[in-house]
Each structure stands twice: as structure tokens, then as C-alpha cells.
Point group: C2
Chain length 168, copies 2
């Protein structure tokens, strides 16, 4: 099982998350002979500013501010599409929002744990789940191509406020 859950849902040196993600992204671009332009890099960096997914128009606002010039929706959506195709980000359909992928090169489950309280989202890759889904599909002769798995609930931080306070 692969997950960034502990990082996402606990205080941590987030600068390292960002740097690691940006390095991975640049490496991947070189490998794939793809161009990491200013716009694309900025969008990716914005998506890594927090572990909360951002909508396209939130990205638009933040990108305009960051680059200090007006940005139109197509610019944002183009960057999003590029990053999606490289596997550097994911789309969370139930939120119409996007989030950086913590392990763009690894096996995927497209499984997200989304906190309904604080909005943070972590990703998991889970061979058992993949196998179970695959064989559940196979049982009814369904040939699995891709999947989108969203779990909603309370992250560790948000599910234990009482325990944290009980020391007072």
C-alpha cells in the first residue's frame, strides 16, 4: 500500500512536499520530452501549496495573482490537461477539483480520502483494492480500463478533536 495520508493529515515540512513534487515533475518532463513551461509549473506548484484540491477558477485567481497578469480559463484548463496527461495531478470528479499526485510513477488506484471537515485529500494506491475491483468486474464480464475512487469522511486531525482536548 502506498499513501501520502500521514503527510497530508498531519503537520509536516510542507516545503519538502512541494520541492519533491516539482523535482519529480521536471524529471518526468525530461523523460517524456515534454515542456514544463512557466504556466504549467505555476499551476502545479499552486496545486501543491496545500493538500487541498483546488478548482479551476481558484487556480485562475491564484495564477493571475502569482504571474501578475490576467489569466483566462483556457490557460488554466490547458495547464491542467497537460499535467493530467503526465499523471502529475488528478481530477476529483465529485469536487470538480484538482490535486497534485504524490507518486506519479507508481501503480495507481485513483483512490482518494477526502476529509469532509477540512477539505484535505490524500491518495492511496492499494493492490488489494485494485485486485478486488478487477475481479469483481471480471465476475460480471466487465473489462476494467480505469477507475475513480473517492472516499469521504474525517481525516485523523478532524476525527479526534476530543481526544486532543482531553489533556486540558
Amino acid at each position: 500500500m502506498l499513501t501520502n495520508s500521514r503527510l497530508v493529515h498531519q503537520p509536516h515540512d510542507h516545503g519538502r512536499c512541494i520541492n519533491a513534487a516539482m523535482t519529480r515533475a521536471h524529471d518526468l518532463c525530461i523523460e517524456q520530452n515534454a515542456r514544463m513551461t512557466t504556466t504549467r509549473e505555476s499551476v502545479l506548484r499552486l496545486l501543491w501549496q496545500s493538500h487541498r484540491p483546488l478548482g479551476a477558477y481558484q487556480l485562475q485567481d491564484q495564477l493571475a495573482e502569482l504571474l501578475n497578469k490576467p489569466i483566462a480559463p483556457p490557460t488554466v484548463y490547458r495547464a491542467i490537461e497537460f499535467l493530467l496527461q503526465l499523471g502529475l495531478i488528478h481530477r476529483l470528479p465529485s469536487l470538480n477539483a484538482y490535486i497534485g499526485c504524490p507518486f506519479p510513477n507508481s501503480e495507481h488506484s485513483n483512490l482518494f480520502l477526502i476529509c469532509t471537515e477540512c477539505g484535505s485529500a490524500s491518495e492511496m494506491a492499494h493492490a488489494t483494492i485494485n485486485n478486488t475491483l478487477q475481479s469483481a468486474g471480471a465476475k460480471v464480464n466487465f473489462t476494467l480500463q480505469s477507475q475513480s475512487l473517492e472516499l469521504f469522511g474525517l481525516c485523523p486531525q478532524c476525527s479526534e478533536p476530543l481526544e486532543a482536548d482531553s489533556n486540558e
Copy 2:
């Protein structure tokens, strides 16, 4: 495991699907003391016309034609919301579309098998998957509240065209 997959992805007496669904819906409304109005019943029936999910504006068009009067989006969305709350339909976030629920009273996985070829969608409820997801979440202290699971691929009908043709 509970699924309507075999029904969805194979030729069948679809009138029975519709009738069964409408009966279940009426029963549920009585049980819940909810009102099954003309608009709501029409939307539900439209969603059961096929095993393909429909978008809100497809529903709007079809509802306007069926009721022979102009229908505005809020009317559709209100009916959708009502039916969602009763568990009579589901929303498929990746498609922005809605589909009738074949077993509104049973345990749910919110697991959908969506054919990328013909657009049909079947639903499964699967205790093993639920347990696996639940415990995968628990492992990282995530308290699961709800889930949305969408599998994309080829349904039986669409995945075996060659085999079907091979008799010629």
C-alpha cells in the same frame, strides 16, 4: 454481492425493470411519508427508460416533452435532489449524470461499472469491497462516511464483439 449487471448489459424485458423500480419508489414514499408527485415520478421513470445515466439537461428536455410544457432547470434539480435523498437514484460525479438505483433498500457500495463504449452503467454492492475500503481507511485513521466508486471499461456486450461474430 448484489448487482444488476447481468440485466443492464444484456437484452432483457426492460418494462419489468421500470415497473419494479416504480413500485419500489411508491412503496418507499409511503414508508417515508414522502410525496411522489408527477414531476418526481416522471424524472424517475425517465431515468429508468434505459440503463444509461442521464444529465440534468437531458432530463429537462425529455421531461418537457413528456409533460408537454416548458420545464426550467430548478424543477429538474429539485426532483433529482428528492430522489437522491430517498436513495432512489444516484449521481455519477465523473459524468455529471444520474441513474436509477436498482436496490434502494439494500446495503450499498456506490460502485458503478460504466461502459466507455455504450454508456450503460450497472451498480454493484459488494461487502468485501466495502470492508477493504473501510479498513484501508482505518489503517490511516480515516473515518469513512461515504464513498463514490466508478469503474470504467467495457461491458460484456461491448467487450466481446469478435466472439459474437466468430460464429459467422
